[in-house]
């Protein structure tokens, strides 16, 4: 039978505030264990949470970027369950009145734009981290992560395939990156994705029994886990079986999902309003302040790059993939570089060098203005493209301007006609064979002769001029 997959995503994003969501501790949890802690995030008797306004700011920004309605009045709730990594044995979260709700995000799938509904985005606190196997048979708890702010973003069950889920995650990460609210590093746990997956006969509008897939550590892992789970459920249904509602983990090594907890074992979280906190009231002014501070978002920027700079879909897509790259590109253009040339340099040589150096373009030591100057040197004929490619790594390494490097190394292009003419004559004399070939109509022979001139000048000769001079020389003598 043919099935349609119905998938909804729950993504937990760690928000990069300086201090934790309910106390003043630093959010850096790579510090030595239990150093960024206080009575509040340790859940000591008598300690009380106070909501970090920076978290509300960031959450409202995400909500607006995801086209959500921002609740004028929302509250925090206690989610009760026992686990050693929970300082208070309840997590402060938002239950029935999330800060953001009813939004959408656009993804591109098979050349089409699809809108995925965002059910809600709510604030909560992260748990501590259990560390097993310290000492002989001991476990420890590192509370540095306890109270780090999380935003949980929940979609409608609008996704239909692993590809769509992947596109959603990429689009979401891109927006969060543009907002600068999270580094979205799945490996480091700053973005955690859970998928609710069910199948139904193609064309049906009834939902099937869902499973929830957790503990996946990468976007590609999510993709594979969903592909696996869809096939697994299809197999069960094909054999006339029933899917068991359960939470399933992903075993990346074996490439399978496995049952962790069935519905019967599900927690009763006994949510109730957190009496230690006051309601979160985001008025018109607050929302407007955040709205005005929002950067241009990726899809808008993508459209503008195509229209204003005449870039192809492909180039506009790559250049707007991160805010840092788009900014770099626009700064290069603003410094005078031609948009298409700037695009080619950035996407090509520069990106390759950055990848090699394991640098993000946001940390690029080469200033956009210097890249623009380099392009200008090529345009003016001061250096050839080849020389530019040669000096780019050094520009990146030293942060030096192209002009300075060219001068320092004497790499300026030789465009002196007399000098080039003399060189050309020497080459023709030294290689009578190819010269004769050209004269006989073998145009390819010219390339060899140009190459010889270039070689004699260690690449500094203006290739255009060398070409013209040689043609003139060889045809004159006819």
């Amino acid at each position: 039978m043919e099935y349609e997959a119905v998938i909804g995503m729950e993504v937990h994003v760690e928000i990069d505030t300086r201090s934790k969501v309910f106390c003043a501790c630093s959010t850096r949890f790579d510090a030595p264990p239990n150093t960024n802690v206080c009575p509040v995030c340790l859940g000591l008797p008598g300690a009380m949470p106070v909501l970090n306004r920076a978290m509300v700011d960031a959450s409202v920004a995400v909500g607006l970027a995801l086209n959500c309605t921002i609740s004028r009045w929302s509250k925090l709730d206690r989610k009760n369950y026992f686990y050693p990594d929970m300082a208070k044995n309840y997590q402060i979260s938002q239950y029935d009145l999330p800060l953001c709700h009813g939004g959408w995000i656009e993804i591109d799938i098979a050349g089409q734009t699809k809108r995925i509904g965002i059910t809600r985005a709510h604030m909560e606190e992260d748990t501590a981290r259990n560390v097993h196997g310290i000492g002989s048979n001991e476990s420890g708890i590192d509370f540095n992560r306890s109270g780090v702010p999380l935003l949980e973003i929940v979609t409608e069950p609008d996704l239909r395939s692993a590809e769509e889920v992947h596109a959603y995650l990429v689009a979401l990460k891109q927006i969060l990156g543009y907002l600068g609210v999270s580094d979205c590093n799945m490996e480091e746990g700053s973005l955690r994705a859970e998928a609710n997956v069910s199948l139904r006969p193609a064309g049906s509008s009834v939902f099937g029994t869902k499973t929830e897939i957790k503990n996946v550590a990468s976007f590609s892992g999510v993709y594979k886990a969903i592909q696996y789970e869809v096939a697994r459920q299809a197999g069960i249904l094909d054999e006339g079986g029933a899917v068991v509602q359960a939470t399933r983990g992903w075993d990346a090594d074996r490439g399978v999902t496995f049952e962790q907890r069935s519905k019967e074992e599900a927690h009763d979280y006994r949510y109730f309003p957190e009496p230690d906190l006051v309601p979160v009231v985001v008025d018109e002014t607050w929302e407007q302040r955040i709205r005005e501070s929002l950067p241009e978002l990726p899809r808008a920027r993508y459209r503008r790059f195509r229209e204003s700079y005449g870039l192809s879909d492909h180039d506009a897509g790559i250049l707007t993939s991160t805010r840092a790259m788009a900014d770099y590109f626009e700064q290069t253009v603003a410094a005078g570089a031609d948009a298409k040339k700037a695009a080619n340099w950035i996407m090509g040589d520069l990106q390759a060098l950055l990848t090699e150096a394991a640098l993000d373009i946001g940390q690029c030591p080469l200033q956009p203005a210097h890249l623009a100057d380099m392009v200008a040197l090529i345009d003016s004929g001061t250096i050839s493209g080849k020389i530019a490619k040669e000096i780019l790594p050094e520009m990146l390494r030293t942060g030096k301007a192209a002009k300075a490097l060219v001068k320092e190394k004497g790499l300026a292009q030789i465009s002196d006609e007399g000098q080039l003419d003399a060189l050309a004559r020497q080459v023709v004399e030294a290689h009578p064979g190819p010269a004769a070939d050209f004269r006989a109509g073998k145009e390819k022979a010219l390339g060899f002769l140009v190459g010889q001139v270039m070689k004699a000048t260690r690449g500094q000769a203006n290739p255009q001029m060398v070409n013209e001079i040689l043609v003139k020389l060889l045809t004159e003598g006819k």
Binding site: P39, L42, G43, L44, P45, G46, A47, M48, P49, V50, L51, R78, N80, F82, P84, A87, K88, N89, Y90, I141, D268, R270, Y271, F272, P275, D276, L277, V278
Partner: protein
């Protein structure tokens, strides 16, 4: 024989210190001697900080000698309920599960009092985690009522109330979730205040029911109450629920009188259930205020009959979450020889919590459970709003409401422990006040024929503590009798 400074009020001690008639150390010694003399009978304290108190007092004296201003509470000996986190001594909430626990920080209230020069004498006994009305739920000891050692001091802040009543502290600080300051104050014959919710920072008060808890002081007179309120009240950035309101100088609004004040008497509180002797004492107090120019009217608080049910749903629900952290993982008691984490949770809690605490955790867990939440917790919240509205409506017609603080005077040990519901009724006149978030003050209004104190409860609108004090001060200065002292000497 050394002068009995322990008989002085806090403001008398303050004046004597500033006049140079006495040293803080002499005052502290007087209190410590008093504790040494009577506390083996009263058993108000679970921990006496003798060395600490003398050292603190010495520092205050040094500052006074240098002509510095050592603060509004300079040299005043104050006792702290064991529910307040203190870096000195232990913070155990009189529970086995927190045995030996030392707080790495001071409660905001403790810190502000210390900064104002207070000399802390130690920690006082309480019902375990402030759950109870007789202090019999303490796992440490039974505190006795200084007026009759066969009777309970009330609870849950029974140790704090008894300490002030027995002159073992000038002021004591308790906490009031459903009457835990006012009821023991009434039973022990001292003053007790439950401030408006949000007036005093709860940071560092070990939480029982967060939406109801307030720190409240016990004093020997109204002027002392004003003195301590000036220090305790105010916004704390560490407590999101603390009110960002300016704090008046309460000592300056005491003698405004009650002329023109309207006093409301809720008809639902003056029923057959009220002990006749208690009723006549409260009516006597009303008559005093009327004589001073106040007008008494009957008001109605129609949702009163639901208050106890609502209270025991909300407070247990919140307690079930607040006490979840006591699990043996990070601090406090941990059961030994456990099989696994789950077993550790089960046994730690079963062995570490007393029966009343366990009963409330289970009740609270139940009312929040899926399928029961709407019928219990949500319904209770709705009725709580109605109770709050009852008071709003009543306060449209009057400035203060007068009620008995407790339906009975102090009762005998064991008298109500067999039936938890009977014990819960001890707070019938006080719990609505916590549900409504309004301020309430209990002030002695006489002794029964058997010599037990009776408390008058005065209530006012949210943040109208000035009005409370005004009425209490007028009454105190015109009531025409001296409460005398408990027969301990």
């Amino acid at each position: 024989m050394e002068k009995q400074y322990c008989r002085l009020t806090a403001h008398e001690i303050r004046d004597a210190l500033r006049a140079g008639d006495v040293t803080a150390e002499a005052v502290a010694r007087s209190y410590l001697d008093r504790i040494a003399r009577v506390d083996d009978r009263v058993r108000a304290y679970v921990d006496v900080w003798r060395d600490y108190a003398l050292e603190r007092a010495g520092k205050i004296d040094a500052r006074l000698a240098k002509g510095e201003d050592p603060g509004a509470l300079a040299g005043i000996p104050i006792a702290l309920k064991d529910v307040l986190c203190t870096t000195v001594g232990r913070t155990e909430c009189c529970s086995k599960i927190l045995k030996g626990y030392r707080s790495p920080y001071d409660a905001t209230a403790v810190r502000t009092m210390r900064e104002a020069g207070a000399v802390f004498l130690g920690k006082t006994n309480m019902d375990e985690f402030a759950m109870g009305s007789s202090t019999e739920n303490s796992t440490v000891q039974m505190t006795r009522n200084p007026w009759n050692l066969a009777c309970v001091p009330g609870g849950s802040s029974g140790g704090a109330a008894a300490a002030v009543a027995a002159d073992e502290a000038a002021i004591a600080i308790g906490s009031d979730t459903g009457g835990s300051v006012r009821q023991p104050a009434a039973l022990c014959g001292c003053l007790g205040l439950k401030p408006t919710y949000g007036r005093v920072s709860r940071y560092g008060l070990v939480a029982f029911a967060s939406s109801l808890d307030q720190i409240g002081p016990f004093t020997k007179d109204v002027e002392d109450m004003a003195l301590i309120m000036n220090v305790l009240f105010g916004k704390d950035p560490m407590d999101a629920t603390s009110a960002d309101l300016e704090v008046p100088d309460f000592t300056r609004c005491l003698d405004a009188g009650v002329s023109g004040l309207t006093v409301g008497l809720p008809k639902e509180y003056f029923t057959e259930a009220l002990n006749a002797e208690m009723r006549s004492k409260v009516e006597g107090a009303v008559a005093v205020l009327e004589k001073l120019g106040a007008k008494a009217i009957e008001v109605s608080l129609p949702h009163t009959p639901y208050a106890i049910a609502v209270y025991y749903i909300i407070c247990t629900a919140e307690a079930s979450a607040n006490l979840a952290r006591f699990d043996g993982v990070r601090y406090g008691y941990r059961a030994s020889n456990v099989a696994d984490v789950k077993d550790m949770y089960h046994r730690t809690k079963s062995e570490g919590f007393g029966p009343e605490v366990q009963r409330r955790i289970m009740l609270g867990t139940y009312v929040l459970s899926s399928g029961y939440y709407d019928a219990y917790y949500l319904k209770a919240q709705k009725v709580r709003a109605l109770i709050r509205r009852d008071f709003e409506a009543a306060f449209e017609r009057c400035d203060v409401i007068l009620t008995p603080t407790s339906p009975t005077p102090a009762f005998k040990f064991g008298e109500k422990t067999a039936d938890p519901l009977e014990m819960y009724l001890s707070d019938i006149y006080t719990i609505s006040v916590n549900l409504a978030g309004i301020p309430g003050l209990s002030i002695p209004c006489g002794l029964t024929a058997r010599g037990l104190p009776v408390g008058l409860q005065i209530l006012a609108k949210p943040f109208a503590e000035e009005t409370l004090l005004r009425a209490a001060y007028a009454y105190e200065h015109s009531r025409g009798f001296d409460m005398g002292r408990p027969p301990l000497d």
